[in-house]
Amino acid sequence: MSRPADTPASETPAVVPLTLDQRPARGPAIRRRIAILGNPNAGKSTLFNALTGLRQKVANYPGVTVEKKLGICALPSGGRVELLDLPGSYSLRPGSPDEVIVRDVLLGLQPDTPPPDLIVFVVDATHLDRNLYLALQVLEIGRPVILALNMMDAAEARGIRIDERALEEQLGVPVVKISAARGTGIGNLRRLLERDVEPSTVRFRRLPPHLARVVQRLETRLPRHELLPERGRHDLALALLLDDGEDDAIARAAPPEVLDDVGILRRRLDQLAPGWRSDDIEERYETISQILARTVLSPGETRDANRERIDRVLTHRIFGPLIFLVLMGAVFQSVFAWAQPAMNAIDFLMTRVGFLAEGLMPAGPLRSLVVDGIIAGVGTTLTFVPQIAVLFLFLSVLEDSGYMARAAFIMDRLMGRVGLSGRSFIPLISSFACAIPGIMATRTIDNRRDRLTTIMIAPFMSCSARLPVYALLIGAFVPNRWIGFGTLPGLTLFSMYFLGIAAAIAVAWVLKRTVLRGGKPLYVMELPPYRMPSWRSVLITVRDRSLLFVHKAGTVILAVSVVLWFLASYPRGGPEVSALASRIAAAQAAGDAPRATELEDEMAGVSLRNSFAGRVGRALEPAIRPLGFDWRIGIGLITSFAAREVMVSTMATVFNLGSPGDDVVSLRESLRGAVDERGRRAYTPLVGVSLMVFFVLACQCMSTVAVVRRETNSWRWPLFMLVMMNALAWVTSFAVFQGGRLMGFG
């Protein structure tokens, strides 16, 4: 897979033998491999989706795709090709880890991915000159390229007219006008994919003579590379000269004696022509303006009136930050308000299903498994699908419209206070969905320390898996009242998200002043134009994310529920239980029905407490008692390591088994009515708050730990994260619970 960004040089093979033929044996059955390349936000993933029918994430900000993704594209003739979606890049001299992936794929520096047979270069036609910079770099390598002029709808709307035949002639490769979002021109492109495209024979670069001579000398000293065309070696030589040895992949490609020469050549150039390090850039932009002069018939409107109008409000000195806050508040308010009716309906349905199952099945362990284990566990989790849907509805509208980049623009200064930049903003916002894509998105951050800091704080953003837990606890303990400018549940939810953000800020502040101290790195971010979100793609995102949640309920949560049912039901019996059973029989014989019910309640409680799960929970209890949690919550804290939502299904199973009979009880009701061994109320609202706080701060997600391990390529950081977050969670919950008690709550 992709090369981890922070691989220390010592852990990777010292020399990648370029002379070795790494191409796997290719029979006729192996398909052609086509890579989609281009600047960030040019519409590569939109095109990839149009060609493959897959649903890669698309959004209106640069840096959405951070990994390569393979798909299959059908051709008109019935053939098929492999299509590779790549992160966007501004240059083949990479700055950030995601750009490294692009460069390595293209130059064949990734051992597991042979370089593509054909490149579809996606150009945003509304930003032709900047996009052509990377296009020229790619053409210079000498591989077959098709240039796709994307966003033609937007370009035409702005009056931009491009002569694609003239552009073909100038670049020496086929050019096709498309609009990936609308699907126009895709058929033409598909037909082109079938053709044998020759590499461009146009020689663009005219390096200044002094530099050209040096590069040529260097080129001949590089080993022959089977996967690289001759001109690729030229590029490698130039890269070697320019990269100052910072880039290990490039440096590894060269024999050590050549590296010594590079140093000498650099010093000579420094004396001869001090500006040599950027000469190639100026030459290339010069070439571009000549090409554009011959191919752009009309440059169109230079100003985007729409953008100016919207930006005047959204980035206004006062309204900008205000709108940002109101928007965030509105999201949390709606997550509750809009989802409530649907949630109640699902809740009702699940109780009915439980009732039905109870009627259809004979009493016994199997019925208990189905009703108390599966229907209670999975069913209760499913009631939170509406919240997930509303959350993603908002997130995807914000992402598709182009607002996210503005929010990052507004927030950069504040992030600067803790030593981060606006670059970290989008990974952090993505973490509200799930920390895993958020952590992956940090690949767009070129500075290693900033990237690590962002990874460490991303899990503090309340992910969608915590939402069901908050929703359950708020539903059980927070009265639905209006106060000030929102409802109490909405405000409580907002404060939980806010607490996560505050913790993230504090931790970042500490990290950036201690272990990850360092100067402020370059921060440049493109602000994309506003686009009307496509409702179709928004709804597809919402549906996909909801289905994913349902799928999880049907797999992980189902499995955990079944296992948990066993652990919480067995061992059965024991002297305490038999004693109770005979007392129940006695009470029934005496016709004392209320007493019998009371004893049945007690028996269910005793069995649960003595079960395997109960014993584990009780073993944990001393550690969590100071936070207000009892052994039943303890069971949930353990199972939620599988996934945070499992907390909800665990509680549902525990409380169903802990109550007599096999009818499904509403979990919210049971939490409110729960009593401890001495018959006192087990959970006060204060316990609910303390538990929510614990969930905000604790690191309870195995997948997150695994991703951090992969992205940082060490165990140090994930272990640090685990200890730091859980310690913080314990201490804060302790302070909340004990402090609250001192103040007389609970």
């Binding site: 501004y90 900047r130 910079y133 850039i281 950069d412 600067g416 370059l522 493109e526």
Partner: protein
């Protein structure tokens, strides 16, 4: 840089008020930063406009070659322009 400064007219870009334009003369500072900015199209001779400052005064929004970029003021200061 090979481009000699054009006397006192050369100004750090962050001195331009929002709405003002200039022509890039040169970029000073860290080599990799200079390359990065130039690759984004900020090469000498290119017109650049300061569109606005963020609500807290930093970063600034630039417009170069129809592209809008958000960049810190301290970095904008390293881009030298002649106002026009």
């Amino acid at each position: 840089m090979m481009h000699a400064p054009r006397g006192e007219r050369e100004t750090p870009l962050d001195r331009l008020a929002p709405g003002e334009q200039g022509t890039i003369e040169r970029i000073v500072g860290d080599r990799s930063m200079v390359r990065r900015l130039m690759e984004l199209g900020l090469v000498p001779g290119t017109p650049v406009e300061v569109v606005r400052r963020a609500p807290l005064g930093d970063p600034v929004e630039l417009r170069v070659r129809q592209v809008h970029l958000s960049i810190r003021r301290s970095e904008a200061a390293q881009i030298r322009v002649t106002p026009r």
